[in-house]
């Protein structure tokens, strides 16, 4: 027999004394001892000791053999041998050693010869049952004193324990002993799994083939209740875990805690409590079993929290649909389960720790080790860490869109306030996001627009606008230290708060975004810019909307921060009043001119963008009106005068063509000034002329002209010459009515203008054609001279056009696919 255990080696050399040693000694009661020993032989169930003992035999469930009833003589021998307790104890010690030899032999043989993996629990149970019955029946006849008997049972139990639980299959190395269950435990686990948990019948004991009560009492009788408990707890945890993973992952939009509690109450707990009541200490009362229920629910909650921690980033992105899930996370993280329980039933408190103790006892099982760590504080920290990690991975990199980051940021704030209303976790979580946002260049603009744009479709950060409006209700008051010390309900910051934790700073979304930057000024400037632009684009002088927003902003940023904007709004308001007054005062004043009067030092964002280029001449009509307005103004506002800003504002004009068709436009002043030069003027105007006349840069002029060409009002004769599109006006109007696309308008306009442009040159085509039919290839210079020679003077005068125009015409013919150009020579297209 080879075993790696050194103790066995020692015993190999110095064997423990067994009952066999007794028979060799000579004494008066030799006879009696022999008789008794004969009776007790072979110290082990004979049916199990057969050499060819096989799996099939176990499977066939051989009847447990009992020690045959002793004869009268043997009884007498036993009585005489085991007269007093000292003898009994001595006997038990020896008997135990004999048994132990057999036991070890049997199990060594058993593990070596049996395909243990094939055995199910019931096979093991059968062996156990056989052995226990055997010993029980033999012990009955020995009439041992309680002490000796107790000692005997304990010894047998420990033999079972060492052989079933501790003894490892020889394949397993020593250090893995604690990691893996023995085959026995594995089979016991499977058994429990099948019969206790899978069997969801109301009464699992109804299964006739397996007498569970017998099994458990037997197991408990050999002192395995601790192991049963361990396995039960492990299994329950596994069940709960898989239930939660199967039923809760990805589901955040409905409450689940109740389902889980129900599951535990209906599926896990009934069977659990029955087994537990068998295996637990006898003095545990029924009510104590409820403690297990609480603990199981608590375990389930821990499990749910671990799951949610893994999902936290997605949950937050899913907000507000995930608010139910978030609320349950809050419940799980905040319930003080055990404390609550202790307080309610103080008399049970010493029991209620049982399961937890069992679990902590199990901490040598690696996968259970987590549980002891899963205190709330640990989970809170883990939640924060996981979320921050995921944020870095998914969001806080240079590829992210600022709007997305802000949206996530606001969702984070709201979600974490549900998880932890005190805001401590939030405070920790938002720090990296805030640091990141600070580095984004466009954040200010995004926030400012988000705050002010009420249009749901265009504003990706509509949340901010809503939040700003909501702020109207609550007055933001900043709490000072003094106020804190006067607050009777004051409580200290939570223990895991960072030193500079301030709840207000993070819990309010807008405040939280604003406070990313140290100074408000950067926001104020952006607001001023934005509002300035809006005020300039305002045409009805109605500032109520802007004023309302400004008031909302003032609540946030402080009343005195918006001086410039106040002045800007006042300017517009006063302009409105003044326009009315001046119009009323001078009856001559036509109502078609009015102006917004700006305090020029306070419109930096608008006026700084103006350059000399914007200082073009107004149409005379308007200039006269402005001068009149100005003199009225001076007489009304003593000591002041106006300076006109020609490029700002908007103009409504009405164009009426010769064919009685009128078109209305609302355009910028520069375009209006350009088109008014064509008023009553059917001749073409050049860019240079317009530029000089209006004192406008040629670039601006061509831009304005191309606008009117696009609108179909003007025709582009050449790149620099433009004329009113009188003839085609009607068609174009129809055109623009039917096809609103600007691009098509532009195309049709330019095509026609080219057509028209070359109309005069059209006469050249027959000459050109016959020329190229005779001489296949011609360079431009040759084309020109030949045309000059062939075309009669009365048909076309070459003096009126320049070379470039002729070249343009030829190129146009190429475009029209009438000609071909190869190596700067023209030829007819075949």
């Amino acid at each position: 027999m080879e075993t790696p255990i050194s103790k066995d080696h020692i015993e190999w050399v110095i064997p423990k004394p067994t009952l066999n040693d007794l028979s060799s000694s000579s004494s008066d009661i030799d006879n009696d001892i022999d008789l008794m020993l004969n009776h007790l032989q072979p110290y082990f169930p004979p049916s199990l000791l057969q050499n060819n003992f096989s799996v099939n035999q176990i499977k066939s469930r051989l009847a447990p053999d009992k020690v045959s009833d002793p004869s009268q003589r043997v009884r007498a021998a036993i009585r005489s041998c085991l007269k007093d307790e000292t003898n009994q104890l001595e006997f038990v010690r020896l008997y135990q050693n004999s048994i132990s030899v057999r036991f070890n032999e049997f199990f060594a043989n058993f593990y070596n010869s049996m395909p243990t993996a094939q055995l199910v629990f019931l096979d093991y149970f059968h062996i156990i049952k056989t052995i226990t019955t055997y010993y029980n029946s033999s012990l009955i006849h020995l009439n041992l004193s309680p002490l000796a008997r107790n000692l005997c049972t304990r010894n047998i139990n420990s033999l079972f324990y060492s052989n079933l639980i501790i003894r490892q299959n020889s394949k397993n190395s020593e250090q893995s002993q604690h990691q893996e269950d023995t085959y026995f435990l594995q089979s016991l686990r499977e058994f429990l799994d099948v019969y206790v948990f899978k069997n969801t019948l109301a009464n699992p004991f109804s299964d006739n083939s397996v007498n569970l009560i017998d099994i458990f009492t037997t197991l408990i009788s050999i002192n395995l209740n601790k192991d049963i408990n361990q396995l039960l707890i492990q299994l329950s945890i596994q069940k709960i875990k898989s239930f939660i993973i199967a039923n809760c992952s990805g589901i955040w939009d409905k409450p689940l805690l109740e389902t889980i509690t129900e599951f535990i109450q209906n599926e896990i707990y009934p069977n659990f409590s029955i087994i537990a009541s068998y295996s637990a200490d006898l003095n545990l009362t029924n009510s104590v079993n409820n403690v297990y229920l609480y603990d199981l629910i608590k375990l389930a909650q821990l499990e749910l929290v671990s799951l949610r921690i893994k999902e936290i980033y997605s949950i937050i992105l899913y907000y507000p649909n995930s608010s139910d899930g978030l609320y349950e996370l809050y419940q799980c993280l905040s319930t003080k389960f055990n404390h609550h329980h202790y307080n309610q039933t103080p008399d049970q408190s010493h029991h209620s720790t049982n399961l937890i103790n069992d679990i902590t006892n199990l901490s040598n099982f690696s996968y259970l080790a987590n549980y002891s760590l899963k205190s709330q504080a640990y989970q809170r920290a883990k939640l924060v860490d996981t979320f921050v990690d995921l944020c870095h991975k998914n969001l806080l990199h240079s590829g992210a869109n600022t709007v997305d980051v802000i949206t996530t940021y606001t969702k984070t704030i709201k979600s974490f306030l549900i998880i932890d209303p005190k805001g401590v976790l939030l405070d920790k979580v938002v720090r990296p996001i805030r640091r990141y946002l600070k580095t984004r260049e466009d954040i200010i603009i995004k926030i400012v627009h988000g705050l002010l744009d009420d249009d749901e479709s265009s504003n990706e950060l509509i949340e901010l606008a809503k939040e700003l409006r909501r702020a109207k209700a609550k007055t933001s008051k900043k709490r000072s230290v003094v106020e804190d010390s006067l607050d009777m309900n004051w409580v200290p910051d939570p223990i895991d708060a960072l030193p500079d934790f301030k709840k207000g700073k993070v819990s309010d979304i807008i405040e939280s975004l604003i406070s990313i930057f140290d100074s408000n000024e950067i926001f104020i400037n952006e607001f001023t810019k934005l509002f300035g632009q809006r005020l300039v684009n305002l045409h009805n002088y109605d500032v109520t909307d802007i004023e309302e927003r400004l008031n909302l902003l003032k609540l946030r940023f402080g009343k005195n921060e918006f001086t410039t904007l106040d002045i800007m709004i006042k300017d517009i308001k006063e302009s409105k009043v003044l326009n009315k007054k001046l119009t009323a005062r001078s009856g001559i004043q036509a109502p078609n001119f009015h102006t917004s009067i700006l305090s020029h030092l306070f419109w930096p964002t608008v006026l700084e963008n103006l350059s000399e280029n914007d200082n073009f001449n107004l149409p005379p009509e308007i200039n006269i009106k402005f001068e009149a307005y100005n003199s009225d103004y001076t007489s009304y506002m003593k000591g002041r005068s106006l300076k006109f800003l020609p490029s700002l504002g908007s103009v409504k004009i009405e164009l009426s063509f010769n064919n009685k068709i009128t078109q209305n436009f609302e355009v910028t002043p520069d375009r209006a000034a350009i088109i008014s030069l064509f008023d009553d003027n059917s001749s073409e105007l050049s860019v240079d002329f317009i530029s000089k006349k209006l004192n406008m840069s040629p670039y601006m002029v061509s831009k304005g002209l191309s606008f009117w060409v696009k609108e179909g009002v003007l025709l582009e004769l050449t790149k620099t010459l433009f004329i009113v599109n009188e003839d085609d006006a009607e068609e174009d109007v129809l055109h623009s009515a039917s096809i609103p696309s600007a691009a098509t308008l532009a195309n049709s306009g330019s095509d026609k203008s080219i057509n028209l442009k070359f109309k005069e040159l059209e006469v050249l085509w027959p000459y050109l054609k016959s020329m190229l039919e005779n001489i296949s290839y011609l360079k431009f210079e040759r084309v020109k001279t030949l045309l000059k020679l062939t075309v009669p003077k009365d048909k076309f005068d070459f003096g009126t056009i320049d070379d470039s125009k002729l070249e343009d015409y030829l190129d146009w013919l190429v475009d029209e696919e009438k000609l071909e150009i190869t190596q700067q020579s023209y030829k007819l297209k075949e």
Binding site: I567, N592, K625, S641, L648, G649, K652, E654
Partner: protein, 136 residues
């Protein structure tokens, strides 16, 4: 084609006319500052929020120096100013271009008058003193 301007919404800026024949379109004076508070005339004195009517300017008539009304009033309220222009030390008077006298302007007028009275009294005293000296 006829072009009819239906409505022209223009933008303009207002400026104080500083010189008598102030050309509204010359931008040369736009940046001119009040000699007391060193803020542009088209801005406000340090105590005002809104420029324009709320914080008018005063044009000097004795000298060519102009100030925010509030600034010059503050200056003249001090006895040590002796009613003189803080820039050139000439007796400060202003162009009464406003037909309707505001309270503030009235205040300014009182101050200037007060200083004039003081000056007159002082010169009277001096004359008496000189006369007395001559006698001795």
């Amino acid at each position: 084609m006829k072009v009819k301007i239906v409505e022209w919404h223009g933008f303009s800026t207002w400026h104080w006319k500083l010189a008598a024949d102030g050309d509204a379109n010359s931008s040369a004076y736009v940046d001119e500052l009040c000699g007391i508070c060193r803020v542009a005339f088209d801005g406000t004195c340090p105590n005002c929020k809104y420029p324009g009517d709320d914080c008018p300017i005063v044009l000097g008539s004795g000298c060519t120096h102009n100030f925010h009304l509030h600034c010059i009033v503050k200056w003249l309220e001090q006895d040590t100013s002796k009613g003189l222009c803080p820039m050139c030390r000439q007796i400060f008077t202003y162009k009464e271009s406003y037909p309707d006298m505001t309270e503030e302007l009235a205040n300014l007028k009182t101050l200037i008058d007060g200083h004039r009275v003081m000056r007159e009294r002082y010169t009277e005293d001096n004359q008496e003193f000189e006369a007395f000296e001559e006698e001795t």
